[in-house]
């Protein structure tokens, strides 16, 4: 896990992406490139959204927060901040995350419900070099909005030494889920989910063994509160090692916040935390 991903292995693994990637692989993306002319994005857009219009100025719906320069391409913190609260009549249903230059550019999706309170998600991703990163938000009326950032990721100078991959796999699956601060009934409450997992790309050579470990990652995260879904992530190895998600839910009087996690070897883990919310009215620090 020394670098993010590199070398020929990236091409052989992501064969589907490689065919599209090859024509412009020689030139690094630049911040002043036209983000609407990136071939891989256009292909994904056509395949996924089938000609539906995407509002490119989605600032009133979502804001994407990502560092302009990332020192460690293997761990780039990002936040997608929803700009309005979820209500039964108007809410963000789904966020798509796309990182143009990654071997597998589609990093996954995050689904929300009115019970989410706020369709904000924060996590850490792997980023290949200099790239556009984009989030498409789909609202419950079927409209699409995009937010885009250019990220310059370098890294590796301080990459941690290669780890024992067997050990990393043995300890995989420890789940920690918690709410931040005192929950208040009826108000969006910030929660954090952490899963110990190597989330291997299958594209990084171990510098000691000179071998490539196979791709092994968390593919699905489902979080419910009081048995109603609040956040469902369908993701891949673009999420950094030890996946970490921060998101919201709306607590009632008392209930359980539960996470169910599945990885690519069909291992499954659960985590839960009881939430006892104060009755509404008091201010909560989680609200911003």
């Amino acid at each position: 896990m020394k670098t993010t991903w590199s070398g020929t292995r990236a091409v052989t693994v992501a064969t589907l992406a490689a065919a599209l990637f090859a024509p412009y692989a020689a030139r690094a993306a630049q911040p002043d490139d036209d983000p609407e002319k990136v071939a891989r994005w256009l292909d994904f857009k056509e395949g996924t959204f089938k000609g539906r219009a995407i509002d490119p100025h989605g600032d009133a719906v979502i804001k994407l927060d990502a560092p302009a320069r990332a020192a460690d391409a293997a761990v780039v913190p990002i936040a997608v901040n929803a700009q309005f609260p979820q209500t039964p009549t108007h809410y963000i249903r789904k966020l798509y995350l796309f990182i143009d230059e990654n071997p597998e550019p589609y990093a996954g999706s995050f689904e929300f419900t009115p019970e989410s309170g706020l369709a904000t998600i924060e996590t850490r991703v792997r980023v290949e070099d200099y790239t556009f990163m984009r989030v498409i938000a789909e609202t419950n009326d079927g409209k699409l909005y995009s937010a885009i950032r250019f990220v310059k990721a370098s890294g590796g100078c301080s990459a941690p030494a290669d780890k024992d991959e067997d050990a990393a796999e043995r300890t995989a699956g420890q789940v920690r889920i918690q709410a931040e601060g005192q929950a208040v009934a009826g108000k969006p409450e910030l929660a954090q989910l952490m899963v110990r997992h190597p989330n291997r790309t299958g594209m990084a050579m171990n510098q000691v063994t000179r071998n490539y470990a196979t791709a092994y990652f968390i593919r699905k995260v489902s979080v419910t509160y009081a048995d109603k879904p609040v956040m469902i992530a369908n993701v891949n190895f673009s999420i950094s090692e030890n996946p970490n998600f921060r998101f919201y839910f709306v607590p009632g009087g008392s209930g359980e916040l539960k996470a169910h996690i599945e990885d690519t070897k069909n291992k499954q883990w659960d985590g839960a935390v009881a939430i006892s919310a104060q009755s509404g009215g008091a201010q909560t620090s989680a609200m911003k």
Partner: protein, 299 residues
Amino acid sequence: MLLFALSTLARAAMSGMPAPVAIAPGVYAFLGDNDAVAPANHGIVANNGFIVGPEGVTVIDTGASYRYGRAMIEAIRKITPLPVKLVIITHQAPEFVFGAAAFRDDGVPILAHARAAQLIRERCSICLANLRKTLGEDEMAGSRVTVPDKTVNGTTEIESGGRQLQLLHFGPASTPGDLAVLDTQSGVLFAGGLVSNGRIPELRNEQIPGWLAALENLHALDLKTVIPGFGAPLRGDGIMRTGDYLRELDAAVKRAYKNGVGLTEAMHTVQVPAFEHDKLYAIAQPQNVQRIYLQLEKQ
């Protein structure tokens, strides 16, 4: 003949190459511009230098490119005809290691702490690729990873070029294999990665408690002149400002983490106000916050 001479000169010159500054008898420093590596400064951001003894020259750190290493050799030639006997690499960081290839081409031994040598072997190819991307192929032409061929495992006194040098190692600090080089005769210290002046350090492989202890140890030596890895030379007292930054940064990140502030927000909001006007702050501060935050998460 004239044409040949001119072309040699043209090839030899490196734009932006600072003139060596005489620090003490026989002790010279090249002072970089202290900013982020960028095409405009040709990557000449860090400090390095050389010490001239009765029998030869000892070079301390080598800059960010092969071209810079060659320019150092030429600048040294203008000061002394004595041969370069040894290159000392103070730590593994891209702004310090890539000129070493020019000295290796001349058959000069290159010394570092064993851990620094190991890290150069394992990681510097990645840093080199980053530098090529930032500075371009031309600026980085000829640059290659040059693994030191002599190593020390701890504080060691050596004689090089006829001068006594103390290679000081205080355990893992700014990197696992930091060396500071003290010239016994002049009392001048080349502090390498341990000290930054007017530029916040980029945390890469640091251990903050060890780093603070190393600074205390250096402070106790009561040095008159310290050449920091970055920024203007300073007196021994001045090195403690690097420690102030580390302490305040560490405390501020821990505070935010304990208060449940998310990583993205912490990168925006955690500041060390006394250092806001230091070079590199805008770039390195959020990265330093991230690094400490992620370490806290693993505990």
